[in-house]
């Protein structure tokens, strides 16, 4: 067995001695040195020189050992570039000559260190899962230590930290990697956690930057008014030792600093909500207060102003303008203030608590007397450009770009540490992935990383056993959006597997259509469906009154929980080219647009009735919707339809269906033929028909099915009457009569409800009013009782 870690080296011996002394030993040595020195000095003064020398000797020994421990043994800086010269003190101090030099042996020696627990906790693992999968092959240890060295280099760490060795052990073991996959953990996550740990270690060793000293602000003016109305971001960062890490060096922050130093000194910080505009300004504030500015803005302070606070302090007409002018004047006079207008649109008279300070801002910027950052969304910036060109032209735009996935994960990792400390919970790594994934899918109105952070914060409330897991994130999104994203529970899975029966409780026959739809719902719920398209998209073809709408309602009720989760649009009302605009209205002019409805209720069945009557431009939009799962409203905001089931209905081909079913043909046998016919006749374009998951034919209902429909409707009537403890039954002859009266070959079963209302409800109502029927009665109606 080859020896990889040299336990007999002087470095290893120092590490072990350092561990033996420990923090407690160091304190004892310090205290002893101090006490002995004091005693020696005291004795020296009372002429006990001999004893003074005797005491000084151990005092110096204790002092020397304490200094050696503090500066050398406890940190053990790297000695050489090879493995033994770079292994951290934490690793070396835990290995003795008795430690077996193989992965399992090393793991057992180091697994009780907090860095090992950092991996176990964030991967939701326990030692009992790790140990059995690590080998006793020393060749694998060699591979593990090489990986650890590579991780240290990638993290710019001079020493190979214990955490990197843990990651190396996990990644070098094929057995353990297989176990991770079985537990639905990606091996890449181990490396990501190692990098996360590396960043934390670097952060913890960060030397506090010089923030200017006692005379820093003596050359700048006092800011009493700004202190009253604003929030001094810089001083608060300094006070709380807040650190924005890599963000202080990000391109957005560097661009902002350059823009402030040049030209008018006014920056429009543009980006959607959640992209990090406020954090970027805070990072800039940290950069400046630490004197890092290369643009002559060292020790400048950022003061945030809120329109609401200013408005709340204005009592009379003209107060607002006066306050704004005074604030700007004070900032200009102080000479080191950068004004930060978060939600700048509220200073342009837009939104609640806002006022129009455009003219004041214009004059201040033109005078170039104060540096300022105005944070706003892209839309607000465009609106400003069109409404106040002169002000917009004076602002230097700095547009923040959305972070890539790796960047968002870094932000979430940093956030997780804060959440763990604040809420005393453990944030599992899987929850970060889930927060990224689910916020991307369900939080359309915000950008990364803000939306993922928000979801992760919400997930803390759903932690189980003090751990925030993927399931906590799923519960948070289910609670806030009313959608099902977690794995189906056994009861729900059972219901999904028997979905056809559930739908047939309210739908008579149409087994083909019900089966097709049930399969689509099962695919979506099991996570097998394409997540970039709607849950399902169907074209229902068939005569009127055969159950097309009823099936759509049944889906809304069974899958989304209530019939109310159905958005129904009659496409015959969208026959003109200008109707496209109405459909895509962002809600400002038409609150009933499809876009608005889906934005408010994103988990719905969208039923587009009589689709063939819609304008061709609308059908083109439908192509986009079915392809990409989203539409863009008039103001450029995307709305997701990925959680909708799209159902289009049409009576096209109804005559053919009726005739061929009457001739005894099975509906499946002529489906393709009918589709071709519809394309040839120009009623549907082939590209549209191909976009649907399924084209479903509904066949006309026969006499027995109509009788069953009557029975279903009678159940609904009895449900209503159950409040009065009355039930109504129909004799078979009565049912037959109602079917005969309620069936219309052109309208199918549609007149049935009206007929039943007339025949049964009117009759029962009169009996109740006449006192012939009382609570507790069971009423049986025969042919002669019906009022038809």
């Amino acid at each position: 067995m080859s020896t990889l870690i040299d336990v007999s080296s002087s470095r290893a011996a120092q590490a072990r001695l350092g561990k033996t002394i420990g923090e407690t030993g160091y304190r004892i040595l310090q205290a002893s040195a101090a006490s002995l020195e004091v005693a020696a000095l005291s004795l020296g003064l009372v002429n006990g020189q001999r004893f003074a020398w005797l005491l000084m000797s151990p005092a110096i020994l204790c002092y020397s050992l304490a200094v050696w421990w503090k500066r050398q043994l406890s940190v053990l800086p790297p000695q050489s570039s090879d493995l033994n010269g770079r292994l951290s003190v934490d690793v070396l101090s835990r290995i003795t000559t008795k430690t077996p030099q193989h992965p399992l042996g090393l793991w057992q020696a180091i697994s009780n260190h907090w860095q090992a627990n950092f991996f176990l906790h964030h991967l939701l693992l326990v030692d009992e899962v790790v140990s059995p999968h690590l080998s006793t092959d020393s060749a694998e240890l060699d591979q593990a230590l090489k990986l650890a060295g590579e991780l240290a280099e990638r993290n710019n760490s001079p020493t190979i930290e214990l955490g990197f060795v843990v990651a190396g052990l996990m990644l070098a073991s094929s057995n353990f990697k297989q176990q991770l996959v079985r537990m639905n953990i990606k091996p890449e996550d181990v490396e990501a956690i190692a990098n996360w740990l590396g960043r934390n270690l670097t952060e913890s060793r960060r030397v506090k930057h010089n923030s200017g000293g006692i005379g820093r602000d003596w050359a700048f003016g006092f800011t009493p008014l700004l202190n009253r109305f604003g929030y001094n971001v810089s001083l608060n960062i300094e006070k709380h030792n807040a650190h924005f890490g890599w963000l202080t060096e990000s391109s957005g922050v560097v661009s902002m600093e350059s823009a402030l130093a040049s030209s008018t000194g006014a920056v429009a910080l543009v980006g959607p909500d959640g992209i990090g505009k406020t954090s970027s300004v805070y990072a800039l504030a940290q950069r400046l207060i630490e004197g890092k500015s290369k643009q002559g803005m060292a020790y400048h302070q950022v003061i945030a102003l809120s329109a609401t606070d200013i408005t709340a302090n204005a009592r009379r007409q003209g107060d607002l303008e006066q306050i704004m002018l005074s604030l700007a004047g004070e900032a200009a006079h102080a000479g080191h203030i950068i004004l930060f207008f978060d939600d700048a649109q509220s200073f342009f008279g837009s939104g609640p608590g806002s006022f129009d300070g455009t003219q004041i801002l214009l004059s201040v910027i033109q005078a170039k007397s104060v540096q300022m950052v105005l944070a706003m969304s892209s839309n607000d910036y465009q609106r400003l450009k069109s409404s106040n060109q002169s002000l917009a032209s004076l602002l230097t735009p700095v547009v923040l770009q959305e972070l890539p996935e790796a960047g968002v994960m870094h932000v979430l990792e940093d956030k997780a540490i804060g959440l763990e400390n604040r809420h005393n919970v453990l944030v599992a790594y899987e929850s970060l992935h889930e927060a990224y994934r689910l916020s991307g899918r369900y939080e359309q109105d915000e950008a990364y990383p803000g939306k993922a952070i928000k979801l992760l914060e919400q997930a803390v409330s759903y932690s189980e056993h003090s751990a925030v897991t993927a399931s906590s994130v799923q519960k948070a999104i289910e609670q806030t959006h009313g959608v099902k994203v977690s794995s189906a529970a056994p009861a729900e899975a059972d219901e999904l597997l028997n979905l056809e029966d559930k739908i047939h409780e309210r739908m008579i026959n149409q087994t083909l259509a019900v089966g097709v739809v049930a399969n689509a719902l099962r695919r979506a719920r099991a996570g097998v469906a394409n997540p970039r398209r709607p849950i399902g998209s169907f074209l229902f073809l068939g005569p009127t009154g055969v159950g097309k709408t009823e099936l759509a309602k049944a889906i809304a009720a069974t899958y989304f929980g209530a019939e109310a989760n159905m958005l129904r649009l009659d496409m015959s009302e969208y026959q003109q080219p200008e109707d496209v605009k109405r459909l895509l209205s962002d809600g400002q002019s038409d609150t009933m647009s499809l876009i608005m409805a889906v934005r408010q209720q994103p988990f719905s069945v969208v039923l587009l009735d009589e689709i063939e009557k819609a304008h061709p431009n609308i059908l083109n939009l439908l192509l986009q919707l079915l392809d990409e799962g989203q539409l863009t409203d008039n103001s450029g905001r995307a709305v997701s339809f990925k959680d909708c089931i799209i159902i289009c209905t049409s009576n096209a081909g109804a005559q053919t269906i009726r005739e061929r079913v009457a001739n005894g043909e099975a509906i499946e046998s002529f489906q393709n033929e009918l589709t071709d016919e519809l394309i040839k006749s120009g009623q549907f374009k082939p590209e549209l028909l191909n976009r649907f998951d399924e084209t479903v034919l509904f066949r006309p209902l026969d006499q027995s099915e109509l009788s069953q429909i009557v029975s279903l409707m009678m159940k609904e009537i009895n449900q209503t009457l159950s409040n009065q403890n009355i039930s109504v039954q129909l004799t078979p002859a009565a049912v037959e009569k109602i079917v005969a009266a309620g069936y219309d070959p052109r309208l199918g079963a549609r007149p049935m409800r009206r007929t039943l209302q007339k025949a049964v409800e009117n009759t029962v109502a009169q009996r109740i009013l006449r006192g012939e029927t009382k609570p507790g009665d069971q009423v049986q109606l025969d042919v002669n009782d019906l009022e038809l």
Binding site: S10, Q14, S57, P58, S64, G213, G215, A219, G221, F222
Partner: protein, 122 residues
């Protein structure tokens, strides 16, 4: 044990002594930063906290503004000078103590047995 003792002496007269020397520099820089020495020197004659009077149109107002501003500069100069003097004093003390530490440092290990022998022999 012998190896550890050798390591101790090797560190004490090598890296350890260098650390004492470099800590001298960092302590001095720390004092300069804490007292904002560079900033204060750059703005030695600047008005105190920018408390200034903007000149008016008339000669009298201009003269008064000049007088006010000159007073503000004098106040600024006095405060800064006192702080700079305090900084230089602390700088000198720090440098002296650090130098003493640098000189005494190599004497400490041999002092342990020497003092012990001196104590025992009386």
């Amino acid at each position: 044990m012998l190896m550890l003792a050798l390591e101790f002496f090797s560190w004490w007269y090598g890296r350890g002594w260098k650390q004492v020397a470099s800590s001298l520099e960092s302590r001095l820089v720390g004092v300069l930063n804490s007292f904002s020495v560079i900033q204060l020197l750059k703005t030695l004659f600047a008005p105190w906290r920018r408390i200034i009077t903007y000149p008016g149109a008339s000669i009298g107002e201009r003269f008064k503004a000049w007088g006010d501003n000159a007073f503000s500069r004098v106040v600024g100069f006095i405060v800064r000078t006192f702080v700079l003097l305090a900084a230089f004093l602390i700088l000198i003390v720090t440098a002296a103590l650090s130098l003493v530490e640098l000189i005494i440092w190599p004497l400490l290990p041999p002092a342990i047995p020497i003092l012990l022998v001196m104590g025992l022999l009386g």
